[in-house]
């Protein structure tokens, strides 16, 4: 269970003393001397709990009250125009590290803290994020799991490399290169460079300043003894897969936690959110580790040049967003830039980095700034919207427009809005009127649609078509019960939902929201389908028009893990290709990933890999894995 939810549930189990219940408080207030209701505050009389108890006892003996619970009706905050003054456009670039140090110190002294990224700090017990899986040109499937890279073919599964991270952030294929991106914690002294050998270092170990590897808990002890500081870095390990195995070629690493990456024209682009230790004290200007992000390439540590660091005019935090490009074939030629005081929230596409920060001027507002990251990092535009950006999934770009979801909770009222901003970050559309009174917890953007969740992630309260101006509620999609929407192809949106009867797949016309086809399946009791809330678990192969859904259900024999495969044909709608039980009655095993290569479906769990024919789901082969 999510930690926050667990904590909230336990706190809500704490009972309130009876004397503080509303009906008793009403009695107490009626017994308050009239002089306390005059203009001046009563500062000298403070009834103790004992007085309250005696007052209530006496009052209750004389007065009978009807207790009742009243519900609170949320009211939407009125829509207001924001003043243009709160937009910020200017950026500056320090020319020297001394310039940067001064700016950094000012932000730090003004109370600027470290920022959280849009990925936030997620507390999840077993939350499934999906396993990255890629296919090479020869049809070999590669995936990373449990500290290893596996290659899959119809002949079997092979461990082709051991990587230093049990949980890679991303893997790519670039020609004959396999690129694995993962997180590392590096302990280094301030004086020396660190030799990078991350592919040989397990995640829990550490690298010292002189390049030695210390294992396990002693690493932390060593760091404390030596006064080292641990910092989170993101590493890209590059392997040559031309020979069938994965031979390590080299690594690139930069400060910060992984945000985003992409491969384009032979270049690997990496975006990280960097927290540097504070050392904004006089005399610490030469201590670059204290305020400058760094990167490692070719075994050498380098600091981002002062002139490659951008500082927005209203920078308010001491975190950096670091953007780099590296030759993905040779792991060389790094070009690195950084943005200081970026924000508390970041969203990244292939071409644009969006940062968001929240402020207040009569009401809460969110300022968005965009940067072009196709060639380094260059300022593009800025704009502001009402409300506080949703912490998770609050920004999404589609068809050249940025959608921003905010909660407006100023003045004690609650409301939600979704704004659509153009490339200049001017508001061109808003769904506020549709969402009046709604207190959104999550928003999921799928193509032109936004699903708004008020209580949980399985039943959207509203599905809104944002491409329509003004936005409209998509009644068909809502009536279908779809809780997960996924862009299937141009003009088609796929929905997955669950009703009393089982699971439902539906296909909609993206332009009108009209339902085109529907199929229900898995009618067993106690169905659990994590793909309803974790999009990565749903297989959508638009090219082959295939949809795969993993689920499980329990009966008197145990837990059955089943994989369903469907096809979609515009003329005939959905067709069931079949299903297979891919894990034998073992509820401790979990689904990892699935992909199609040629006519073969690969279903990967942590215990077994099952290959089936996509035509009829007949099992071709099955491999046990550790």
């Amino acid at each position: 269970m999510d930690f926050d939810r667990m904590l909230k549930e336990r706190i809500e189990e704490i009972d309130v003393p009876k004397e503080l219940e509303p009906d008793n408080i009403a009695l107490m207030l009626k017994a308050v001397p009239s002089k306390m209701q005059q203009e001046q505050r009563a500062v000298s009389v403070r009834p103790s709990r004992q007085i309250i108890m005696r007052t209530l006892t006496a009052a209750a003996a004389c007065i009978a009250l009807a207790a009742g619970f009243v519900a609170y009706m949320d009211q939407a905050a009125p829509h207001t125009q924001l003043e243009s003054e709160i937009l910020y456009k200017d950026v500056e670039q320090p020319q020297t590290y001394d310039d940067l140090f001064n700016i950094y110190t000012q932000i730090s002294l003004a109370g600027g803290g470290q920022s959280q990224t849009a990925s936030g700090i997620e507390y999840g017990d077993g939350a499934f994020a999906g396993t990255d899986i890629v296919k090479a040109e020869d049809g070999t499937v590669y995936y990373a799991d449990g500290g290893s890279i596996y290659s899959l073919t119809a002949d079997g599964v092979t461990v082709c490399a051991d990587i230093g991270s049990a949980d890679p952030a991303k893997i790519y294929i670039n020609g004959n290169r396999l690129i694995v991106i993962s997180r590392k914690t590096i302990y280094s002294s301030f004086e020396s460079a660190v030799t990078l050998q991350t592919s040989e270092v397990p995640d829990e170990d550490a690298i010292t300043a002189d390049g030695n590897i210390i294992s396990g808990t002693s690493a932390k002890d060593h760091s404390q003894d030596q006064g080292d500081i641990g910092r989170i870095c993101t590493v890209a390990d590059i392997y040559d897969i031309s020979g069938g195995n994965a031979a390590a070629l080299g690594s690139y690493m930069q400060s910060g936690d992984y945000i985003s990456s992409r491969i384009a024209e032979g270049q690997l682009y990496l975006v990280t959110d960097c927290v540097v230790p504070h050392s904004a004290e006089p005399g610490k200007e030469t201590d670059l580790d204290g305020y400058v992000p760094c990167y490692f390439i070719g075994g050498e540590k380098k600091y981002v040049a002062a002139e490659d660091i951008i500082v927005p005019a209203n920078a308010s935090s001491t975190g950096y967003t670091v953007v780099s490009s590296v030759d993905a074939d040779r792991c060389s030629g790094a070009s690195v830039k950084a943005l200081l005081g970026s924000s508390s929230m970041i969203y990244c596409t292939d071409s644009t980095l969006y940062t968001a920060s929240v402020g207040e001027k009569d009401q809460a507002y969110t300022t968005i700034t965009s940067f072009d990251i196709t060639n380094g990092i260059e300022y593009k535009a800025s704009g502001s919207v009402e409300g506080t950006l949703l912490k998770y999934g609050g920004m999404d770009e589609y068809d050249g427009c940025l959608r921003v979801a905010t909660r407006n909770i100023s003045d004690g009222t609650k409301g939600t809005d979704i704004f659509v901003l153009d490339s200049a970050l001017s508001v061109v559309n808003s769904a506020g009127k549709l969402l009046a009174g709604e207190n959104t917890r999550n928003v999921s953007f799928d193509g032109r649609y936004a699903s708004i969740y008020v209580t949980d992630r399985t039943n959207p309260e509203l599905i809104v078509d944002l491409a329509s101006n003004p936005p409209v509620i998509s009644e068909d999609m809502m009536n279908s019960g779809a809780s997960m929407l996924h862009e299937f192809s141009d003009g088609l949106t796929l929905g997955l939902g669950q009703d009393d009867d089982g699971l439902v797949l539906a296909m909609f016309d993206s332009a009108t929201g009209a339902q085109l086809s529907e199929i229900s399946f898995a009618h067993e009791d106690n169905i659990v389908c994590d793909a309803l809330t974790h999009e990565k678990m749903l297989l959508v192969d638009s090219e082959r028009k295939l949809i795969g859904v993993p689920l499980s259900y329990s009966d008197g024999f145990g837990v059955h893990s089943i994989y369903y495969l469907f096809s979609y044909d515009g003329g005939n709608g959905f067709a069931a290709r079949g299903n297979v039980e891919y894990i034998d009655l073992d509820d401790s095993r979990i689904f990892k990933a699935a992909t199609v290569s040629g006519d073969t479906l690969y279903i990967i769990s942590d215990a077994r890999i099952v290959l089936t024919r996509t035509s009829d789901m007949k099992v071709i082969k099955s491999f046990e894995i550790n």
Partner: protein
């Protein structure tokens, strides 16, 4: 059942105790739980809430924006919690009480269940300011900017403190 919130505030501002109790019913659980988690003492938490109610009732006419009732009463509560925490620091007599007798020798009316005790133990291991910030976050779902408005301070600093406190509490309660 729904209430006409604005009308309720106006009536309460004219001394209508029942109207005030209706407003109070919307926030009383949060008020008590925030006070209890911040102070770790049932009696003091009850006292603080009672003081807050009395001050809010007598000064409700100072509230200009009726829609801000919730955040307004939270500010009053926050100030009283901080004052009580200062008293603890001065007296150096901070104890956790799970059972209590009042002046008449009767048992305290509220009991904390097992899970509640565990959470309170966890909160007790946090710093005093962190307890207040985190309880405002978890109990009432306030964002950093709102908490900064309630307790005073910089929103970014509040955000960092809340994150650290949550992380520490998670380690205490889950061992992870």
């Amino acid at each position: 059942m729904s209430i006409d919130f604005a009308a309720c505030v106006k009536k309460a501002q004219h001394g209508d105790a029942d109207a005030f109790a209706e407003l109070y019913s919307l926030v009383y659980k949060d008020l008590y739980r925030i006070a209890l988690l911040s102070l770790n003492n049932q009696h003091d938490a009850s006292d603080v809430v009672s003081d807050t109610v009395l001050e809010a009732y007598t000064s409700l006419k100072d509230l200009r924006n009726e829609n801000a009732f919730r955040s307004w009463i939270m500010k009053i509560l926050s100030a009283k919690i901080k004052r009580k925490q200062k008293e603890y620091a001065q007296v150096r007599n901070y104890q956790t009480e799970l059972d209590d007798t009042d002046g008449n020798g009767q048992q305290g009316q509220s009991e904390i269940n097992y899970e509640g005790i565990e959470v309170m133990d966890g909160f007790r291991q946090l710093g005093e300011e962190d307890r207040l910030i985190l309880s405002l976050d978890v109990v009432s779902g306030y964002k950093s900017e709102e908490i900064a408005e309630i307790v005073g301070g910089n929103a970014n600093t509040i955000r960092s403190k809340a994150a650290r406190a949550r992380e520490k509490l998670k380690r205490i309660l889950t061992g992870k």
